[in-house]
């Protein structure tokens, strides 16, 4: 359904649904909801009830359309509320202090998960699916834009394509001003900027890092809008034309955010071999959550790939500097000031994903810490200017990062019984299963339906398990004192020359893994020695939970097994016509993939070019062809890999314009995952986990003789802001 169709206000049903009828409907729903939540059922009846609802959910999942998705959310909410009501009213009579302490922890984790579940549903009730709006026909009416590319310590190699692509942006040259905000104050950068004709902006100090960098630059420019790209986010040429239309359509629009697309695998994707198969960690956010936020006018700024209205930004005092997630905080301030934000789920820029897991972790720590800081100093629940929906969306974005403690509790909860015999839930194992399984089932199947294309089930648990320990401290430290802690930089563009096991980063979950395995051993003892004492069901329940935890932790371990990354330029599939000129012969063909250093080609005719042979690659754009020097790296039949020779700026620009800057290059690769198939997903994750455990065993044996290999020096973060 297109948004236009969805927005069509009058269907027959809606005509029938006059306001009083709807009000009555809501009253019925609220009253009936209350009854469903509090109606107690004996165990058999609870099972029957659950089976019927489960079948209903499976049936609903197969029917496409927003109505059934909403129904699934309502059903899941009812079942989970029912569970929480039961959990909070009937299972908290703890008998011993140990039970009480451990039980309280689990309750806290469950309440947290429930709140996140509810807020999550709220956020994605109706993803807006915004489409671009055309710009005025007369180019003279187009506004002026400053394009900011902030950089700190990234190599010029990384920044070059971004700047060159920015130069290719389709916007009147007199209305665009490209600035490289170089906090590194490097001559190399200054020379490059002068060479290509963009402004090189520096400042005297590095206060407030990226936010300060942008704010300093803002003082020197007067464009009506500011577009911001991280230095490794290469925009396509159509970026501004797509992004800017809505600013004309909505005078209060202060921010247009577009997704961050990464053409290289992130550490999870690389180490778990899921690149292109399983939606990555960011896809849920950019594919669904920001789009869902958009309905509530709660899309927030993500630091890059966004355009902001200068007047709005000035009104809130520029980019926020109080927290380390200046982006979200700035958006919050603009929302408070009464401005709108919007989101277009069209990838119009692409960048490199964080290189190593440690770098990735560092980045997430920063986000978590920053969100906790905002939560503490500018809590979205309080303060002026926000609608309730905006408050809830921001709340969810911030609460999300407090998953550290709950996740660790889930990963250890069954051990309370297996080790100490503590009964953390005051109910029989059978009753727990009858109540909790539907709760878990509905939450999962509903999320599988709602998020399926952007997040597969269980992967979330892997992502969170890896990060839980690391974000635990920063979030709570920030809650206590928002000024604590240091600024973390995200390493990108690194190279992993050799595979290794990052034992340092894996230490927390190795420990958790050991605990859980010990829990299984303890369960064995319990079964063997106390099997007769009637807690069999409880033992098996905890065993199943522990095994699940081990699967998740196994996958986490696998994620810490850094896979060798051979090329320093990431290959991206691309099919464009090319011509190879060599020895006075022109051979037509087309490209297979490209990187900044080379290209793979499929020629239409045989050629005799051998390895090392020089050639010229002709790339055509707007009817004009330019030739780039290259040499053959490898040829097999008509397939040929070439490496570019020394390119001048013109040629490099030409290459970027023909590759990274192509308007349609990323759109076809993003958000096109198949829907989730939970069983298949779990089988996959189990395979990944087993592989991780096997690798762990290998490394353990190795380390027994050599010690864990140190992280190779050339993988050290080169860093950027």
């Amino acid at each position: 359904m297109t948004p236009a169709e969805e927005a069509a206000p009058r269907s027959r049903l809606q005509g029938f649904a006059s306001a009083p009828i709807r009000l009555l409907g809501w009253l019925v729903v609220i009253a009936a909801f209350g009854i469903v939540v509090v109606a107690p059922l004996p165990i058999e009846q609870q099972l029957m009830f659950s089976v019927v609802l489960a079948v209903a959910a499976i049936w609903l999942k197969r029917i496409p359309g927003r109505l059934t998705a909403l129904a699934m959310m309502a059903l899941s909410l009812a079942v989970s509320s029912r569970y929480m009501y039961w959990r909070l009213t009937e299972t908290l009579q703890m008998e011993t202090t140990l039970d009480a302490i451990l039980g309280a922890g689990l309750v806290v984790a469950e309440v947290y998960a429930f709140v996140i579940l509810v807020l999550g549903y709220f956020q994605v009730l109706w993803p807006l699916g915004r489409k671009p709006v055309a710009l005025p026909v007369d180019r003279a009416d187009w506004p002026t834009i400053d394009v900011f590319i902030p950089t700190y310590n990234e190599s010029l190699q990384v920044v070059r394509p971004t700047v060159l692509a920015a130069l290719e942006l389709d916007w009147p040259r007199d209305k665009i001003n490209i600035c490289v905000l170089d906090d590194g104050r490097r001559d190399e950068f200054r020379r490059f900027c002068e060479e290509v004709g963009v402004t090189h902006v520096t400042r005297a100090d590095n206060r407030h890092a990226k936010a300060g960098n942008i704010n300093a630059a803002l003082k020197n420019v007067r464009g009506e809008f500011v577009a911001i790209f991280d230095c490794d986010h290469v925009p396509t040429r159509s970026f501004l034309q797509i992004a800017m239309g809505w600013f004309g359509a909505d005078a209060k629009l202060s921010l247009m955010q577009m997704p961050h697309y990464f053409f290289s695998p992130d550490p999870f994707e690389r180490n778990l071999h899921t690149f292109g198969i399983v939606p990555n960690e960011g896809e849920l956010f950019y594919g669904l959550l920001q789009d869902g936020n958009d309905l509530w006018n709660a899309t927030f700024f993500c630091g890059s790939c966004a355009v902001m209205r200068r007047s709005a930004l000035d009104e809130v005092g520029g980019v926020a500097i109080e927290t380390v997630t200046e982006d979200a905080h700035t958006a919050l301030k603009m929302h408070r000031a009464g401005y709108n934000s919007a989101y277009l789920a069209i990838p119009q820029a692409a960048g490199l994903a964080t290189e190593s897991l440690s770098g990735h972790v560092g980045q997430r720590i920063r986000w978590a810490r920053g969100m906790a800081q905002i939560f503490r100093i500018d809590n979205p629940l309080t303060g002026p200017g926000l609608s309730i929906a905006q408050r809830l969306c921001y709340l969810n974005a911030m609460l999300h990062f407090f998953y550290g403690l709950p996740r660790l509790i889930y990963l250890t909860a069954p051990l309370a019984f297996l080790f100490f015999g503590a009964h953390v839930i005051h109910a029989s194992a059978v009753m727990i299963m009858a109540m909790a399984l539907p709760h878990i089932f509905h939450a999962n199947i509903t999320n599988s339906r709602v998020q399926g294309r952007f997040r597969h089930l269980f992967w979330n648990e892997v992502y969170e398990s890896v990060l839980a320990w690391y974000i635990l401290r920063p979030t709570f430290a920030a809650l206590v004192n928002p000024k604590l802690g240091s600024f973390n930089v995200t390493a990108k563009g690194g190279l992993i020359a050799e595979g290794y096991f990052d034992a340092t980063i894996a230490r927390p979950y190795l420990f958790l893994l050991m605990l859980n395995v010990a829990g299984l051993v303890a369960a064995g003892f319990r079964l063997f020695y106390f099997g007769e004492t009637g807690e069999l069901a409880t033992i098996w329940l905890n065993v199943a939970w522990t095994i699940y935890n081990i699967v998740i932790l196994g996958a986490s371990v696998a994620a810490a097994t850094e896979t060798r990354q051979v090329r320093d330029s990431h290959r991206t599939t691309l099919d464009i016509p090319v011509t190879v000129y060599a020895n006075g012969v022109a051979i037509p063909g087309h490209s297979i993939d490209f990187s900044t250093g080379g290209m793979a080609l499929q020629l239409d005719q045989d050629s005799a070019l051998g390895t090392g042979a020089t050639l010229e690659l002709g790339l055509t754009r707007r009817g004009e062809e330019r030739r780039l020097p290259a040499s053959v790296v490898h040829r097999y039949d008509r397939r040929m890999n070439i490496a570019f020779g020394k390119l001048d700026i013109e040629q490099e620009s030409w290459l970027v314009a023909n590759t990274f800057a192509r308007a349609d290059i990323w759109a076809s690769r993003w958000g096109h995952h198949e829907g989730d198939k939970p069983l298949r997903t779990f089988a996959h994750i189990t395979r990944v986990s087993l592989a991780g455990l096997r690798q762990l065993a290998v490394y353990t044996v190795k380390s027994a003789t050599q010690g864990f290999r140190r992280k190779p020096a050339n993988a050290a973060p080169t860093g950027k802001e």
Partner: protein
């Protein structure tokens, strides 16, 4: 160590609020007053084992001074001529014969001291002891005390080798002669019922011919009144038509102008009550309930049962009598009121609530609860408990244990007193002037532990300080415990709602008939051509009902199958056999069990019921066998008690007592036996040869009312499918409403400014 003996709490005084005006007291004594009893009457001998006297376990005597008492009583119309005791006992070989003995006393007068020679130690011994009849009064206590010593040096008073046992089949034999009493209404219910007599009451009823329904109603009032007096003893009322029983007390109900059993009635000028000497047995009395018509007879019966205390003389004629107002549901005097918190003081005397000693007696509070309390998912029955005790000198294991019957509920620690020198601490701890430490707590008694007759027991366990060798022990009478009479039990939060049929409720409490204590919602349907035995059965059943409520069945209706329609809005008690009770044929389709005279049949197939049960989540007893599991031929003497919903009205119950002949002795034996009555359950109880087989029925119905929200939760809990499909519909409705709300919102978000 003393033993604990179930004390028989006197029935609470019947509470009634009515105006009784009695006039025309007869002044003349009965002309035929019997001569004083012949001096040398041979006397009747009666032997009772200790078990029959209420000691249902062997008596254990422990310690240097262990006591046990056996209560026995003598009817007021008897004089004890001689008494003897046949004791079966054994004692510890460790006892030193010179200093040890077992003392037998009656009412604190020593009868004999039984030596404990080592030669006979450890064996079961028997001994006949003659008791002095002069020391025996109405209520007596036979006391057995072990004086035991195992060493001449310092000894542990609680040493385990200090023991003696007395078997509970030891016998007490009393030879009595009758004592002729005056004809005095003022002494009622004596001699017709004597609380000193712990045997079941047997009181014949005499009618002039087969009584009509109105007469039966009067008889029912009288029999249920006697039933309520007899209480735990049970009562039976053999019926004689036109003849007087040869001997023994009897009740005569007659209308002026008739002469039951050839008896000459006194002149009747209105509702009349009289006591006269049995013409054939000068030692026995007749209670005459008389009137010129049925209405007057009823008035006389009501005055007898409600206005007993105001009667005096040999004959009274009741000239004006204000009608007794109908009872409200659940206000039976014997039942714990369920509309307000009830003080313990209303349920037990102050004396019963206080105990003394290191092995104190148990504080018992009898609780007869309405059987239809709906305890589903309630925390339990709240008890606001206040208790006091002598605080131990140092913290120890002393505690107050709370039980319902034999089931444990809670053990409350009895903390030690704060240091006595700290006045402030004493004040803080609210130590009473008597040195007792008051405590206050709220207990929730699990409702499932209660049957309709339960006993709440409080047992103080005082940790006895270990005395140093040869130091005097703290005196036994220095520790006290008391349950405050202001403690309350509160049933008011619990609705009345019960799954029927529930023969347990019928057996224990006469439910549902007893819902109104005067049985105003009850009709008894007699078999066609009912005879004396049928009437006797009805009176006995109503006697049991009276025993449960403690109130006479003043408003019970009687009828036959042909008139059943006019009782459609009542709970029905149907008696008879397949032959003489047409309803058993008419209602076959509704009854969970019928019989064709050769075998029992089950009209509703049971597996259907089971399947429905699972699907609909019927909550009912599933621990009983179901009708499908009973395949039986009819045996002569079978009594089937069958409960089912009345085919005439929803929520009305029928209890059918089906027996081929009118001999229901087996039923009454079962109802009177504490062990058998527990097996009367479900919807069918088949009594055969002294055994009870109970079966769950197929169709459950519910009687009573729940608050709407409780009802909804209860209803849904039994209909999970309804809840499930309701939830799905709810989700779809919510989704539709959300879509209706979100779609315009999305459209608004996507609207462009028109500038």
């Amino acid at each position: 160590m003393g033993i604990r003996i179930a004390s028989t709490r006197p029935l609470p005084a019947l509470a009634f609020a009515l105006a009784v005006a009695l006039t025309g007291m007869a002044t003349a004594q009965d002309a035929a007053a019997p001569p004083p009893a012949a001096a040398q009457a041979p006397g009747t001998s009666r032997t009772a084992t200790f078990t029959q006297l209420g000691i249902d376990y062997p008596i254990q005597l422990h310690g240097i001074q262990g006591d046990a008492g056996v209560p026995f009583s003598v009817r007021s119309d008897e004089v004890v001529q001689s008494a003897s005791l046949h004791l079966r006992y054994a004692y510890s070989p460790a006892l030193i014969p010179e200093t040890s003995q077992i003392n037998v006393s009656v009412n604190d007068v020593l009868v004999t001291s039984i030596p404990t020679p080592t030669a006979d130690a450890g064996k079961t011994l028997e001994r006949d002891i003659v008791l002095d009849p002069r020391s025996i009064t109405d209520y007596n206590r036979l006391n057995l005390r072990l004086i035991g010593h195992y060493t001449r040096d310092c000894e542990d008073p609680d040493h385990t080798s200090l023991w003696a046992n007395v078997a509970n089949d030891s016998e007490l034999t009393l030879v009595t002669t009758p004592l002729v009493l005056a004809n005095e209404l003022g002494s009622l219910p004596l001699p017709f019922f004597d609380p000193r007599d712990v045997r079941p009451l047997e009181l014949p009823f005499v009618f002039a011919g087969m009584p009509d329904h109105a007469t039966l109603q009067s008889a029912a009032a009288v029999s249920s009144w006697f039933g309520s007096l007899a209480g735990y003893r049970g009562a039976s009322f053999p019926v004689s038509l036109d003849s007087l029983p040869a001997d023994g007390n009897a009740v005569v109900l007659a209308i002026a102008g008739t002469s039951p059993g050839g008896l000459t009635l006194p002149p009747i000028n209105g509702p009349t009550l009289a006591v006269m000497t049995h013409p054939q047995d000068p030692n026995r009395k007749l209670l005459l309930v008389l009137g010129r018509n049925a209405a007057e007879l009823q008035t006389a019966a009501t005055a007898l049962t409600i206005g007993t205390a105001t009667l005096s003389g040999a004959t009274v004629t009741i000239t004006s009598f204000k009608d007794v107002s109908p009872r409200k549901p659940y206000d039976a005097p014997n039942w714990i009121p369920s509309d307000r918190p009830v003080r313990f003081g209303e349920l037990a005397t102050e004396r019963d609530l206080n105990v003394t000693g290191y092995n104190p007696d148990v504080v018992r509070i009898n609780l007869q609860l309405p059987p239809d309390l709906f305890a589903w998912r309630s925390d339990g029955i709240p008890v606001d408990l206040k208790y006091r005790y002598t605080p131990p000198q140092a913290p120890d294991q002393s505690r107050l244990s709370v039980d319902i019957n034999d089931a444990f509920v809670a053990a409350l620690p009895l903390p030690a007193a704060p240091a006595p020198d700290s006045l402030l601490a004493r004040w803080n701890a609210k130590i009473g002037s008597d040195g007792s430490l008051p405590q206050h707590t709220t207990l929730h008694l699990p409702a499932y532990l209660f049957s309709s007759r339960s006993q709440l027991r409080f047992h103080y366990y005082f940790d006895r300080p270990q005395a140093a060798a040869c130091k005097p022990q703290p005196g036994n009478d220095q520790v006290h415990g008391a349950i405050d009479a202001d403690s309350t039990i509160d049933l008011s939060g619990m609705p009345h709602y019960i799954a029927m049929p529930d023969l347990a409720a019928f057996g224990n409490a006469g439910f549902p008939f007893t819902r109104t204590a005067d049985l105003s919602d009850t009709a008894v349907i007699l078999p066609d051509g009912a005879g004396a035995d049928d009437v006797s059965n009805v009176l006995a059943l109503l006697g049991r009902v009276g025993g449960s409520t403690g109130y006479p069945a003043l408003r019970v209706s009687f009828g036959e199958a042909a008139q059943v329609q006019q009782f459609a809005d009542k709970d029905l008690l149907v008696l008879g056999s397949k032959r003489n009770q047409p309803l058993f044929t008419q209602w076959e389709a509704s009854m969970p069990l019928t019989s064709d005279g050769r075998s029992y049949q089950f009209p509703v197939s049971d597996w259907v019921g089971r399947a429905m049960h699972w699907a609909s989540g019927d909550v009912r007893r599933d621990d009983l066998p179901t009708t499908a599991q009973l395949a039986r031929n009819v045996a002569p003497g079978d009594i089937a008690v069958i409960g089912f919903e009345s085919p005439l009205a929803k929520q009305r119950s029928v209890v059918a007592v089906m027996a081929d002949d009118a001999q229901l002795g087996g039923l009454f034996t079962a109802l009177a036996s504490p062990t058998l009555i527990k097996t009367v359950q479900g919807s069918v109880a088949l009594i055969r040869a002294g055994k009870v087989e109970s079966l769950a029925g197929n169709s459950t119905y519910y009687v009573g009312k729940l608050p709407p929200l409780t009802w909804l939760r209860w209803f849904l809990s039994r209909h999970p499918l309804l809840l499930a499909f309701g939830s799905i519909l709810l989700a779809l409705l919510a989704a539709w409403l959300l879509r209706a709300a979100l779609r315009p919102l999305a459209a608004r978000r996507l609207r462009r400014d028109t500038h």
